[in-house]
């Protein structure tokens, strides 16, 4: 998988699929037979030249998966997924290339323009053949050099399995074991690729690492697996995703992200997710079932999740922190926007185990159209987590009278010195603010974009600079047409 795309990774990376709307499964060579059984897994493992222990891991996970049933507790509705009707491995083939931008879907280009993506970049994103491969290889090499100088390992998961088996073996599955849940087991069995990142002791990563566009592996497919290990005293800021709309033919995504932070280490993980949400009538769209979890293993470690969720027909995602080290800190900042028929059930888990651990949850849900947007979060204080402190704030904004906004907080406290606070409000967009904007000549749609951005500012300001600007525009675009 990696081999093919390695040369012009950037090109592959951004566009993970066909450019047509909807899902057209691209059946070409190098495809595993439809369905899931042990042979499929052996096939995937063989294709990727994996060592035996990896195959063994996959098979154990698969056998466990067979014993599980799909979870049904989330506030989402979707037709039954036929797991035997999915192709679990398809080597990415060359995309159909367009001669010029004129051939590209105009709606897509329109979106690019609104996001302010440069023409050159637009060509790449939409898969137009670019003669000058805008230094992608050289850019990549430059970054690789910088990273190597610091001893940072940043590569695709397959590469890591080949080149750093010791590290992968040691840490893979320690934060999200294959037994964790249905989709984690599925991912562990069939994961295609992903990123691996290792920051050595005391190193502060000089650049923001990104899976999108800059350095890393392309088309990691629908079952992505990311592992980040931050050794004592290190720091890394990691970006995932892409603000540009991705047309992805894979209807089911089940990813795993694992983060380990040792003593005094800090990991900041930012996501912008804008996968295909389905059309205005709720047809099609990506099902996104993700297990993301960070383990604050060492003392004074910190893991911070920031997410902007605007895409996918279904989002099922709970980036969590296990605060095991004393004085460790967990943070979760989230903006989730749903429009049309999208459904999101997202939130976090903060599990306080160490002493003096602190966590903050700021969640802003915005629902429009006929969508449903739920916050679901757990704050758990274990018996020995003395002086644990949590503050949660979950606000929901409703645009329109056909959408739903829900809050499902779970608070479990088993320590009397814990202080846990949760507050939430649900309200509709302020008529006064809208009137004020319109009175000053700002049209309704722009006014909503403005107000929503102000509402989500607390979260957006947590994003790294280059994401923040695009994310703001993205919010406005996602809400387009939501005004009745």
């Amino acid at each position: 998988m990696k081999d093919e795309s390695g040369k012009n990774g950037v090109l592959e990376e951004v566009t993970s699929g066909d450019y047509k709307y909807g899902f057209v499964t691209n059946i070409e060579t190098e495809t595993a037979p439809r369905g899931l059984n042990e042979d499929t897994i052996r096939f995937i493992s063989a294709k990727k030249n994996e060592p035996d222990w990896m195959l063994e891991f996959r098979l154990t996970a698969f056998r466990h998966w067979l014993t599980l049933t799909e979870p049904a507790w989330a506030h989402i509705e979707y037709p039954v997924i036929d797991f035997q009707d999915i192709i679990y491995y398809a080597a990415p083939k060359k995309k159909k290339e367009f001669e010029s931008l004129d051939e590209v879907d105009p709606e897509l280009l329109d979106t690019f323009n609104k996001l302010g993506i440069s023409l050159e970049e637009q060509k790449k994103l939409s898969g137009v053949a670019v003669d000058v491969v805008m230094d992608s290889v050289s850019v990549k090499t430059t970054f690789q050099d910088t990273l190597a100088k610091h001893g940072i390992i940043f590569c695709s998961f397959s590469e890591a399995v080949r080149n750093h088996p010791g590290l992968v073996k040691k840490y893979m599955g320690t934060v999200v074991p294959y037994r964790d849940n249905y989709y984690a087991a599925l991912n562990s069995a069939v994961f295609s690729d992903g990123s691996f990142c290792y920051i050595p002791e005391g190193v502060r990563c000089p650049i923001e690492l990104s899976t999108y566009f800059r350095i890393n592996a392309a088309n990691t497919g629908q079952f992505e697996r990311t592992l980040i290990v931050a050794e004592a005293g290190s720091y890394v800021s990691y970006l995932e995703g892409c603000t540009a709309p991705q047309r992805d033919e894979n209807q089911l995504h089940a990813a795993i992200v694992e983060i380990l932070a040792m003593d005094d280490a800090e990991v900041k993980y930012s996501t912008v997710q804008n996968w295909y949400p389905g059309d205005k009538n709720g047809k099609g769209g990506v099902y996104n079932f993700v297990t993301k979890r960070g383990l604050c293993k060492g003392r004074n470690s910190k893991i911070s999740w920031t997410q902007v969720e605007t895409g996918s027909a279904i989002t099922w995602k709970y980036p969590s922190c296990i605060l095991r080290g004393d004085n460790s800190v967990g943070e979760f900042y989230s903006v989730a926007v749903t429009n049309n028929h999208q459904q999101a059930d997202t939130g976090t888990k903060m599990i306080h185990i160490g002493k003096n651990t602190r966590s903050t949850i700021i969640s802003k849900g915005i629902s429009a159209g006929k969508s449903n947007n739920s916050y679901r979060g757990l704050v758990q204080v274990a018996k020995k987590a003395d002086n644990a402190r949590n503050f949660s704030q979950c606000d929901s904004l409703l645009l329109g009278d056909k959408c739903g906004a829900h809050t499902f907080p779970y608070i479990k406290t088993a320590n009397s010195s814990a202080i846990v606070e949760h507050e939430a409000t649900t309200s509709k967009i302020s008529e006064d603010q809208l009137f004020y904007c319109q009175q000053r000549g700002i049209d309704m749609e722009k006014a909503i974009g403005l107000i929503v951005n102000g509402y989500a500012k607390e979260v957006l300001k947590q994003l790294p600079m280059e994401f923040a600007v695009e994310a703001q525009k993205l919010l406005a675009i996602t809400l387009e047409g939501s005004v009745g």
Binding site: C403, P409, V420, H422
Partner: protein, 472 residues
């Protein structure tokens, strides 16, 4: 009939056997509607079985520990000897109320008093007697609310209830004197008591009801009560529940309230003692302008467990609701609060509020709180909050600095913590009595005793926290 692929536990088996054996007996004197309802509930129970803590709504309440006990579901009625207040001395000092009572799941009264009409037109009595006398009311209201949020245990009480209380307030009647319902379980063997109540308030009517669940011995028991409350247009109910049962007893109180236009419900649940208590409060606001004010206090210690489940359904626009539950947990006590506000599509102008505050006093106490909001309308004001914490160190310091010993300062602050809820009790005599009980409870003096639990009948010596003035 028997579903062969389901494995039943001990309690389930004995309940099924009991129903099948005593079907005719249970249905004697019952109208066809009730007979049918029993059968339906029984079928439902056979299908679902009893709830366990793997069910989402029962998480953290380990109800299944009861299922392997040998609870006797059948218990013969006790003949009437003397009034409940004489035996149990449950009257509350200074609180003028009409007392009715239930003993071991049977309506307890002198012969021929099974159903009485009091002077302002209020009808009270046994549910079995009432269904003969008021078939039209039963046709209209019985089982009407029972359909939502049901589970195995409500099915059991619907299928197996022996008796229960019926209260009917006709249109326009404002009952001046409060009603006090005393429910007592007193038998030597382990018993499961299933009972069912129906309370109907007509248009523009008003009622205050104090519902006490007490036990007077230390025998284990399982009390399973199912109550339907129907509020007509502009009707108003004040419902107080006082729970003080022994640590060996489990109590499930499922209350379903259905409110029509402009009706008001005010519920106050005070839980002082009990091995395992679960209060389910389901309120359906079905008419515009309806208001529900739901409050609760729980003070638990030992290995007691309290579970408050509150579900408010805003089905129509312009309704208001408020939930305020506060609790103090000490020693190995565990608590669950599960609040749920549901705002249906187009239920605009909804105002819903929910809060749960907890204080943990010991490192082994536990609380799980889940304040949920589910909202499908946009013009709403909904908020919820939940906190878990300790007493304010600064306030403690302030009190200590003024010479109040630490222990008293603690009690004062806890008392103040509960006052926000007790302050909402509208009947003065009842409020001061409940406040006194809370004081006693906080000082660890309120326990269940041989003869009577509450000593309500005794003129109470004013209870003050001992503040050593010489040190001030």
């Amino acid at each position: 009939m028997q579903n062969t692929d389901k494995k039943y536990n001990r309690l389930e088996q004995s309940l099924i056997a009991f129903f099948e054996k005593k079907k005719a007996d249970l249905s004697a004197n019952c109208s066809p509607k009730i007979v049918l309802s029993r059968q339906q509930a029984f079928d439902e129970f056979q299908r679902t079985g009893l709830p366990t803590s793997t069910d989402e709504n029962w998480k953290n309440t380990r109800i299944e520990k009861l299922y392997n006990e040998s609870f006797q579901p059948d218990n013969p009625p006790t003949g009437y000897e003397k009034s409940a207040s004489e035996i149990f001395q449950c009257e509350i000092h200074g609180f003028d109320a009409h007392v009715i009572s239930m003993l071991n799941g049977w309506y307890y009264c002198p012969e021929g008093m099974q159903l009485q009409t009091l002077k302002d037109g209020l009808v009270v009595g046994s549910i079995i007697a009432a269904q003969k006398q008021y078939p039209e009311l039963f046709d209209r209201y019985f089982d009407e609310i029972a359909q939502n949020r049901k589970h195995g245990l409500t099915a059991v009480s619907r299928a197996l209830f022996r008796d229960g209380v019926f209260i009917y307030v006709p249109d326009g009647v404002e009952v001046k004197k409060a009603l006090q319902l005393i429910k007592i379980v007193n038998r030597d063997e382990k018993m499961m008591v299933n009972s069912r109540n129906l309370i109907i308030l007509g248009k523009n009517s008003k009622l205050s009801l104090l519902h006490c669940d007490d036990s007077i011995n230390h025998n284990p028991g399982f009390i399973n009560t199912f109550t339907e409350v129907q509020l007509g247009e502009n009707a108003s109910i004040e419902l107080y529940k006082l729970q003080n049962i022994n640590n060996e007893t489990a109590l499930l109180n499922s209350t379903f309230i259905r409110q029509e236009r402009n009706s008001r419900s005010k519920v106050n649940v005070v839980t002082l003692n009990g091995g395992l208590i679960r209060n389910e409060l389901n309120v359906d606001l079905l008419g515009e302008g309806a208001d529900a004010d739901l409050n609760g206090i729980y003070l638990m210690d030992n290995e007691q467990h309290i579970d408050n489940q509150v579900f408010v359904n805003h089905a129509v626009p312009n309704c208001t609701s408020s939930e305020l539950f506060k609790g103090v947990l000490d020693e190995k006590a565990t608590g669950v609060f599960n609040g749920n506000i549901f705002v249906a599509r187009d239920a605009q102008n909804t105002n819903a509020f929910q809060r749960n505050n907890n204080i943990l006093l010991s490192p082994t106490a536990k609380i799980d709180t889940r304040p949920f909001l589910e909202i499908y309308a946009d013009d709403v004001k909904c908020s919820h909050g939940a906190t878990v914490g300790q007493l304010d160190e600064e306030a403690l310091f302030y009190l200590k600095q003024r010479g109040i010993p630490r222990q008293d300062a603690y009690l004062l602050l806890m008392y103040a913590f509960t006052a926000e809820v007790t302050g909402k009790i509208a009947i003065n005599a009842l409020r001061s009595n409940i406040e006194d009980m809370i004081k006693k409870r906080l000082r660890g003096e309120l326990a269940i005793c041989e003869k009577c639990v509450l000593h309500c009948n005794h003129p109470v010596i004013p209870l003050e926290f001992e503040i050593d003035m010489s040190r001030v």
